[in-house]
């Protein structure tokens, strides 16, 4: 099934910019008042360059922890994470995490927030031009000089996407980025993320608890078990984009996944 997902529809250009991600037998535990709470148990996962993979699982199962480990914000207790064959030892702007909260800096304008990565790495030339280009990419060109408190939730999340994309990441880690948005804004931003993925060719790893969202966006849906997380199912979604929610194949897969998650369908 994994091999099948690597075939891409003829219309999609070859994806050369995305990273290959490899998670090898990673275990991780949280320290809760001295007691170890295992959240990941010997989890292994390979993501092909340019693929779009969704991680689905019950709340608190360790999906977000996996993304933090891949981003390099914390080292795993055991196991290995490599990106394009290089072991992850710390954060790197080529692998970026988009959080559930936009976490824009309130003291910076939208443009200042988007330019954050360029500034942090001391990129001098064209900082403003690149930030403005990223804002155009997410449809926020008119809001460059506005402060974050003046943005709606959806606009703030678009700005957070632009803040990541301006660094031209090869692996984009999306940690329930649409989790706090209203239903209509969610639909609009799902289409947006899909378009950005098709245009900029990064590898995408999306954590979500919305089965429909996973099926509309991802080419591969990985269903995780309850804590400590292990892979319960790895499902290829071989439907062309744009996908429709009422596609009978997607409805069938939705039923199958909900069954795996133990939900009545």
């Amino acid at each position: 099934m994994v091999a099948a997902t690597l075939e891409r529809p003829a219309a999609t250009p070859p994806r050369t910019a995305g990273s290959r991600l490899s998670v090898e037998a990673v275990s991780h535990a949280f320290d809760i008042r001295g007691a170890a709470l295992p959240v990941l148990d010997r989890l292994s996962l390979d993501v092909a360059p340019g693929d779009f993979v969704a991680l689905l699982g019950p709340s608190g199962c360790g999906k977000s922890t996996l993304l933090r480990l891949v981003a390099g914000l914390e080292p795993p207790d055991a196991g290995r994470i490599t990106v394009d064959g290089t072991r992850v030892t710390g954060p790197d702007p080529s692998r970026l995490l988009v959080f559930q909260d936009p976490t824009l800096y309130p003291w910076r304008t939208v443009r200042g927030n988007v330019a954050l990565g360029l500034e942090a790495r001391g990129v001098r030339g064209e900082r403003t031009a690149r930030a403005d280009a990223a804002l155009r990419l997410v449809g926020l060109e008119g809001f460059a000089d506005v402060f974050p408190h003046q943005l709606s939730g959806g606009m703030a999340q678009r700005a957070a996407l632009a803040r990541a994309l301006v660094n031209e990441p090869r692996l984009l880690l999306l940690d329930e980025p649409l989790g706090k948005l209203d239903a209509l804004t969610r639909l609009a931003l799902q289409a947006e993320i899909l378009r950005l993925w098709q245009e900029t060719r990064f590898t995408a790893l999306l954590v979500t608890h919305d089965v429909e969202e996973a099926l509309v966006l991802a080419r591969r849906v990985i269903v995780l078990s309850d804590r400590p997380a292990a892979i319960r199912a790895d499902i290829g979604v071989e439907r062309p984009y744009p996908r429709h929610r009422d596609d009978p194949e997607l409805i069938r897969l939705r039923r199958e996944i909900l069954g795996i998650l133990g939900q009545p369908t």
């Binding site: 981003a71 390099g72 914000l73 954060p91 790197d92 702007p93 692998r95 970026l96 995490l97 959080f99 909260d101 976490t103 800096y105 309130p106 003291w107 910076r108 954050l116 990565g117 500034e119 942090a120 790495r121 402060f147 408190h149 803040r163 660094n167």
Partner: protein, 333 residues
């Protein structure tokens, strides 16, 4: 609460425009000032006050200028809007001055040397301004030195404690033990240890400023949303960037509260230090005036001191408004 904030942040002329304005506000204010002028000039005095006529003339001038000014306030731009806003206060000020004039110079209801009439204070401003002005400059110089040193060191120390566990481990107990001690308690020791009373006072003012600035900067830095650091770290930020571009700007609202509290504390120490050690400044002037039973000079110095302190706080708030313009719902000073 939201309504209160909205009211507080509305510019004064907008608030004045929304209030129904009685048509007789301008004439009422003018009448009050003319009444003050007439009573001051015409009523017999209990005592000898050379500036009675000058005071009456000033009130007369204001009383005559008010009706045309308020009639054309709509054409005077911002000054006109300010005049319209403050007209009721001008009326009250004239009536208060009148009451003061009557109970002191005219009917001597209050014991005389201790409660001089307004014209006696006018006399002090007019005759003694070189000494008063010099005292303001001396006070400002001493205050600025101590405040800037204290605020700078407090800010640096606060950032260090908030950022580094090691610095926090060593600095926290010292801060807890020494910090709450009022800076004035160090006064006898400081005047003995430091080579000059000026350096001793600078130290005390720096101490009074430094403590609140340190504690609030520390709490600001320690309370920064951890996700802000995650964002910057994934984007490739160095530790220096995390401190200067993430922790410090995020902590600035707290820092300004510390700067405000420190400024209030520094005023108290300034006056005490000037009264007890330094032979210049407004605190010394107060002490000197009291020693010579020159009570009018004392009131004049108090008025000047109030203006100075209020002005400095206004300055600090202006600075904050500029630096924190991204924040919503700032308290207006």
């Amino acid at each position: 609460m939201a309504g209160l904030t909205a009211l507080a942040s509305a510019p004064p002329h907008a608030a004045a425009r929304r209030l129904p304005r009685p048509p007789l506000r301008g004439p009422a204010a003018a009448a009050a000032w003319l009444l003050l002028a007439g009573a001051t000039y015409a009523l017999p005095e209990d005592g000898d006050f050379p500036y009675t006529a000058a005071f009456a003339a000033g009130a007369l001038g204001l009383g005559l200028a008010l009706p045309p000014a308020s009639a054309f306030s709509g054409h005077l731009g911002r000054a006109g809007a300010a005049l319209a806003h403050w007209t009721p206060w001008l009326t009250l000020a004239a009536l208060a001055l009148l009451a003061w004039e009557l109970v002191t110079a005219k009917f001597a209801l209050l014991p005389m040397p201790f409660f001089p009439p307004p014209q006696a204070i006018l006399e002090v401003f007019w005759e003694d301004w070189p000494k008063l002005g010099g005292s303001i400059l001396a006070s400002l110089k001493l205050l600025a030195g101590g405040y800037l040193i204290g605020a700078g060191l407090g800010f640096g120390l606060g950032v260090a404690i908030g950022w580094s566990k090691a610095v926090g481990y060593w600095a926290h107990p010292v801060l807890r033990f020494v910090g709450p001690l009022p800076a004035t308690a160090w006064l006898p020791l400081a005047f003995f240890v430091f080579p000059s009373s000026w350096s001793a006072s600078t130290f005390l003012i720096a101490l009074a400023t430094g403590f609140p600035v340190t504690v609030l900067t520390w709490s600001g830095v320690a309370g920064v949303n951890k996700a802000y650091f995650d964002v910057a770290r994934t984007l490739g930020a160095s530790p220096g960037f995390l401190i200067l571009r993430v922790a410090v700007p995020a902590a600035l609202p707290h820092v300004f509260v510390g700067l405000f509290m420190g400024l209030g504390g520094s005023f108290a120490v300034l006056v005490v230090a000037e009264m007890l050690g330094v032979k210049s400044g407004l605190g010394w002037y107060l002490q000197w005036a009291q020693g010579w039973a020159a009570y009018a000079n004392m009131y004049a110095a108090l008025i000047v001191m109030a203006l100075m302190c209020s002005g400095l706080i206004t300055l600090l708030f202006r600075l904050r408004d500029r630096v924190l313009s991204w924040q919503k719902g700032l308290v207006q000073w």
